[in-house]
Protein backbone atom coordinates (compact mmCIF):
# COMPACT_ATOMS: atom_id res chain seq x y z
CA UNK A 1 0.00 0.00 0.00
CA UNK A 2 1.27 3.44 -0.90
CA UNK A 3 -0.13 6.83 0.08
CA UNK A 4 1.25 10.24 -0.83
CA UNK A 5 0.44 13.78 0.25
CA UNK A 6 1.97 16.94 -1.18
CA UNK A 7 1.81 19.96 1.16
CA UNK A 8 2.69 23.63 0.94
CA UNK A 9 5.51 24.37 3.41
CA UNK A 10 3.55 26.37 5.97
CA UNK A 11 3.09 25.75 9.71
CA UNK A 12 -0.43 24.52 8.88
CA UNK A 13 1.18 21.67 6.93
CA UNK A 14 2.23 20.07 10.22
CA UNK A 15 -1.38 19.45 11.27
CA UNK A 16 -2.17 18.19 7.75
CA UNK A 17 0.78 15.81 7.97
CA UNK A 18 -0.52 14.48 11.30
CA UNK A 19 -3.96 13.91 9.77
CA UNK A 20 -2.28 11.98 6.94
CA UNK A 21 -0.33 9.83 9.41
CA UNK A 22 -3.44 9.15 11.52
CA UNK A 23 -5.19 7.81 8.42
CA UNK A 24 -2.20 5.81 7.24
CA UNK A 25 -1.42 4.22 10.61
CA UNK A 26 -4.58 2.18 11.01
CA UNK A 27 -4.13 -1.11 12.81
CA UNK A 28 -1.26 0.08 15.00
CA UNK A 29 -1.64 0.03 18.78
CA UNK A 30 -2.54 3.34 20.43
CA UNK A 31 1.01 3.64 21.75
CA UNK A 32 2.60 2.95 18.35
CA UNK A 33 0.27 5.42 16.63
CA UNK A 34 1.10 8.08 19.23
CA UNK A 35 4.80 7.50 18.70
CA UNK A 36 4.57 7.56 14.90
CA UNK A 37 2.54 10.77 15.12
CA UNK A 38 5.21 12.37 17.32
CA UNK A 39 8.06 11.33 15.05
CA UNK A 40 6.24 12.43 11.88
CA UNK A 41 5.24 15.73 13.48
CA UNK A 42 8.84 16.51 14.41
CA UNK A 43 10.14 15.58 10.95
CA UNK A 44 7.50 17.77 9.27
CA UNK A 45 8.23 20.65 11.65
CA UNK A 46 11.92 20.43 10.71
CA UNK A 47 10.97 20.34 7.01
CA UNK A 48 8.92 23.55 7.42
CA UNK A 49 11.44 25.35 9.65
CA UNK A 50 14.76 24.29 8.14
CA UNK A 51 14.03 22.51 4.86
CA UNK A 52 12.04 25.14 2.99
CA UNK A 53 14.42 27.93 1.92
CA UNK A 54 11.79 29.63 -0.26
CA UNK A 55 9.19 29.54 2.52
CA UNK A 56 5.63 28.88 1.45
CA UNK A 57 6.67 28.41 -2.18
CA UNK A 58 8.35 25.16 -1.17
CA UNK A 59 6.55 21.82 -1.00
CA UNK A 60 6.79 18.99 1.49
CA UNK A 61 6.07 15.49 0.30
CA UNK A 62 5.03 12.67 2.62
CA UNK A 63 4.99 9.10 1.34
CA UNK A 64 3.68 6.19 3.39
CA UNK A 65 4.44 2.60 2.36
CA UNK A 66 3.10 -0.46 4.18
CA UNK A 67 4.29 -4.00 3.83
CA UNK A 68 3.56 -7.07 5.92
CA UNK A 69 6.27 -6.08 8.39
CA UNK A 70 6.86 -2.37 8.17
CA UNK A 71 5.19 1.00 7.93
CA UNK A 72 7.68 3.36 6.28
CA UNK A 73 7.08 7.08 6.18
CA UNK A 74 9.35 9.42 4.22
CA UNK A 75 9.27 13.19 4.57
CA UNK A 76 10.86 15.07 1.65
CA UNK A 77 11.80 18.75 1.75
CA UNK A 78 13.80 21.29 -0.32
CA UNK A 79 16.52 22.00 2.23
CA UNK A 80 20.29 22.08 2.01
CA UNK A 81 22.22 19.11 3.45
CA UNK A 82 22.42 19.02 7.24
CA UNK A 83 24.02 16.88 9.93
CA UNK A 84 21.46 15.53 12.40
CA UNK A 85 22.53 15.90 16.05
CA UNK A 86 23.94 12.74 17.60
CA UNK A 87 23.27 13.66 21.23
CA UNK A 88 20.79 15.58 23.35
CA UNK A 89 21.51 19.24 24.07
CA UNK A 90 22.28 20.17 27.67
CA UNK A 91 19.29 20.19 30.05
CA UNK A 92 19.43 24.00 30.22
CA UNK A 93 19.04 24.35 26.45
CA UNK A 94 15.28 24.30 25.80
CA UNK A 95 15.41 23.45 22.08
CA UNK A 96 16.87 20.77 19.83
CA UNK A 97 14.80 17.77 20.94
CA UNK A 98 13.04 16.99 17.65
CA UNK A 99 15.54 14.44 16.31
CA UNK A 100 15.78 12.84 19.76
CA UNK A 101 11.98 12.40 19.82
CA UNK A 102 12.10 10.80 16.35
CA UNK A 103 14.79 8.34 17.44
CA UNK A 104 12.85 7.40 20.59
CA UNK A 105 9.53 6.91 18.84
CA UNK A 106 10.20 4.71 15.79
CA UNK A 107 12.24 1.57 15.17
CA UNK A 108 14.47 3.10 12.50
CA UNK A 109 15.30 6.68 11.48
CA UNK A 110 17.47 7.63 8.51
CA UNK A 111 18.49 11.02 7.16
CA UNK A 112 19.36 11.23 3.47
CA UNK A 113 19.00 13.21 0.28
CA UNK A 114 16.73 13.13 -2.77
CA UNK A 115 16.87 15.23 -5.95
CA UNK A 116 15.28 18.31 -4.35
CA UNK A 117 16.55 18.27 -0.78
CA UNK A 118 16.54 16.19 2.39
CA UNK A 119 14.53 13.08 3.10
CA UNK A 120 13.83 11.67 6.53
CA UNK A 121 12.79 8.02 6.69
CA UNK A 122 10.82 6.79 9.71
CA UNK A 123 10.15 3.05 10.00
CA UNK A 124 7.81 1.37 12.45
CA UNK A 125 7.62 -2.40 12.69
CA UNK A 126 4.05 -3.65 12.38
CA UNK A 127 2.65 -6.14 14.86
CA UNK A 128 0.05 -8.84 14.27
CA UNK A 129 -3.13 -7.54 12.66
CA UNK A 130 -1.54 -4.40 11.22
CA UNK A 131 -0.41 -5.61 7.82
CA UNK A 132 -0.70 -3.55 4.68
CA UNK A 133 -3.03 -5.89 2.83
Amino acid sequence: MLRVVDLRATPAAIAEARAFVREASWGLSDQDRMDLLLAAGEATTNAVRHGSPRGERCRILLICRRTEEWLTLTIHDSGVPFEPPTSLPSPDEPGGRGVHVMRCCVDEVAFGRWEMGNVVTLRKRLGDGATGK
Binding site: P11, A12, I14, A15, E16, R18, A19, M34, D35, L37, L38, G41, E42, T45, V48, R49, L88, P91, D92, P94, G95, G96, R97, G98, H100, V101, C104, C105
Partner: protein, 119 residues
Amino acid sequence: MIYVADIRLIPEDGWLLLVARGELDLLNAPALQEALSILTSDARNPLVDLRDVAYLDSEALRQLGRAAASLRPTDRDLVVMVRPNSLPERVLHLCGWKRLVRICHSLDEAARPEESRNA
Protein backbone atom coordinates in the same frame (compact mmCIF):
# COMPACT_ATOMS: atom_id res chain seq x y z
CA MET B 1 -9.37 20.44 8.50
CA ILE B 2 -6.75 22.16 10.65
CA TYR B 3 -7.20 21.66 14.36
CA VAL B 4 -6.65 25.00 16.08
CA ALA B 5 -5.65 25.09 19.71
CA ASP B 6 -7.54 27.09 22.32
CA ILE B 7 -5.37 28.77 24.98
CA ARG B 8 -6.88 30.59 27.96
CA LEU B 9 -5.64 32.12 31.21
CA ILE B 10 -7.92 31.39 34.18
CA PRO B 11 -7.35 32.41 37.82
CA GLU B 12 -8.27 29.71 40.35
CA ASP B 13 -7.54 29.31 44.09
CA GLY B 14 -4.26 31.22 44.15
CA TRP B 15 -3.13 29.77 40.83
CA LEU B 16 -3.07 31.33 37.41
CA LEU B 17 -3.93 28.51 35.03
CA LEU B 18 -2.94 28.43 31.38
CA VAL B 19 -5.52 26.02 30.00
CA ALA B 20 -4.75 24.68 26.52
CA ARG B 21 -6.95 22.49 24.34
CA GLY B 22 -6.26 20.95 20.97
CA GLU B 23 -2.88 20.52 19.33
CA LEU B 24 0.18 22.64 20.16
CA ASP B 25 2.77 22.94 17.43
CA LEU B 26 4.68 25.48 15.33
CA LEU B 27 1.41 26.99 14.07
CA ASN B 28 0.28 28.22 17.47
CA ALA B 29 3.70 28.54 19.15
CA PRO B 30 3.51 32.39 19.13
CA ALA B 31 0.14 32.31 20.96
CA LEU B 32 1.52 29.83 23.50
CA GLN B 33 4.63 31.97 23.98
CA GLU B 34 2.55 35.08 24.64
CA ALA B 35 0.27 33.28 27.10
CA LEU B 36 3.28 31.80 28.92
CA SER B 37 4.86 35.24 29.14
CA ILE B 38 1.74 36.60 30.88
CA LEU B 39 1.57 33.51 33.10
CA THR B 40 5.16 33.73 34.32
CA SER B 41 5.09 37.48 34.93
CA ASP B 42 2.04 37.14 37.21
CA ALA B 43 2.52 36.93 40.99
CA ARG B 44 0.19 33.93 41.33
CA ASN B 45 1.43 30.33 41.14
CA PRO B 46 1.76 29.37 37.47
CA LEU B 47 0.16 26.16 36.22
CA VAL B 48 -0.11 24.91 32.63
CA ASP B 49 -3.06 22.57 32.13
CA LEU B 50 -2.39 20.24 29.18
CA ARG B 51 -5.02 17.62 30.09
CA ASP B 52 -7.03 18.38 26.95
CA VAL B 53 -4.04 18.68 24.63
CA ALA B 54 -3.95 15.89 22.06
CA TYR B 55 -0.59 16.78 20.54
CA LEU B 56 2.45 18.64 21.80
CA ASP B 57 5.64 19.05 19.80
CA SER B 58 9.21 20.04 20.64
CA GLU B 59 8.48 23.66 19.71
CA ALA B 60 5.81 23.83 22.45
CA LEU B 61 8.29 22.09 24.76
CA ARG B 62 10.85 24.77 23.97
CA GLN B 63 8.33 27.42 25.05
CA LEU B 64 7.63 25.55 28.31
CA GLY B 65 11.37 25.22 28.99
CA ARG B 66 11.91 28.94 28.47
CA ALA B 67 8.97 29.76 30.76
CA ALA B 68 10.35 27.44 33.47
CA ALA B 69 13.78 29.05 33.16
CA SER B 70 12.29 32.53 33.50
CA LEU B 71 10.76 31.52 36.85
CA ARG B 72 14.05 30.39 38.42
CA PRO B 73 15.01 33.84 39.80
CA THR B 74 11.65 33.95 41.62
CA ASP B 75 12.21 30.47 43.11
CA ARG B 76 8.91 29.22 41.67
CA ASP B 77 8.19 26.03 39.75
CA LEU B 78 6.30 25.85 36.49
CA VAL B 79 3.65 23.22 37.21
CA VAL B 80 2.40 21.25 34.19
CA MET B 81 -0.77 19.18 34.52
CA VAL B 82 -1.21 16.26 32.10
CA ARG B 83 -3.34 13.14 31.80
CA PRO B 84 -1.52 9.94 32.77
CA ASN B 85 -0.12 8.04 29.75
CA SER B 86 -1.07 10.86 27.38
CA LEU B 87 0.99 12.12 24.47
CA PRO B 88 2.03 15.32 26.32
CA GLU B 89 3.22 13.26 29.28
CA ARG B 90 5.21 11.00 26.94
CA VAL B 91 6.92 13.95 25.25
CA LEU B 92 7.78 15.58 28.59
CA HIS B 93 9.35 12.33 29.80
CA LEU B 94 11.17 11.57 26.53
CA CYS B 95 12.84 14.97 26.56
CA GLY B 96 13.78 14.92 30.23
CA TRP B 97 11.51 17.86 31.04
CA LYS B 98 10.77 16.40 34.50
CA ARG B 99 13.92 18.21 35.59
CA LEU B 100 12.68 21.57 34.34
CA VAL B 101 8.99 21.56 35.24
CA ARG B 102 6.89 19.95 37.96
CA ILE B 103 4.52 17.42 36.38
CA CYS B 104 1.22 16.54 38.05
CA HIS B 105 -2.09 14.92 37.14
CA SER B 106 -4.57 17.06 39.11
CA LEU B 107 -4.96 20.41 40.89
CA ASP B 108 -4.91 18.57 44.24
CA GLU B 109 -1.59 17.04 43.32
CA ALA B 110 -0.30 20.41 42.09
CA ALA B 111 -0.94 21.81 45.55
CA ARG B 112 1.26 19.07 47.08
CA PRO B 113 4.73 19.65 45.58
CA GLU B 114 6.40 16.60 47.12
CA GLU B 115 3.89 14.21 45.48
CA SER B 116 3.89 15.75 42.03
CA ARG B 117 7.68 16.04 41.86
CA ASN B 118 7.77 12.27 41.40
CA ALA B 119 4.73 11.97 39.13
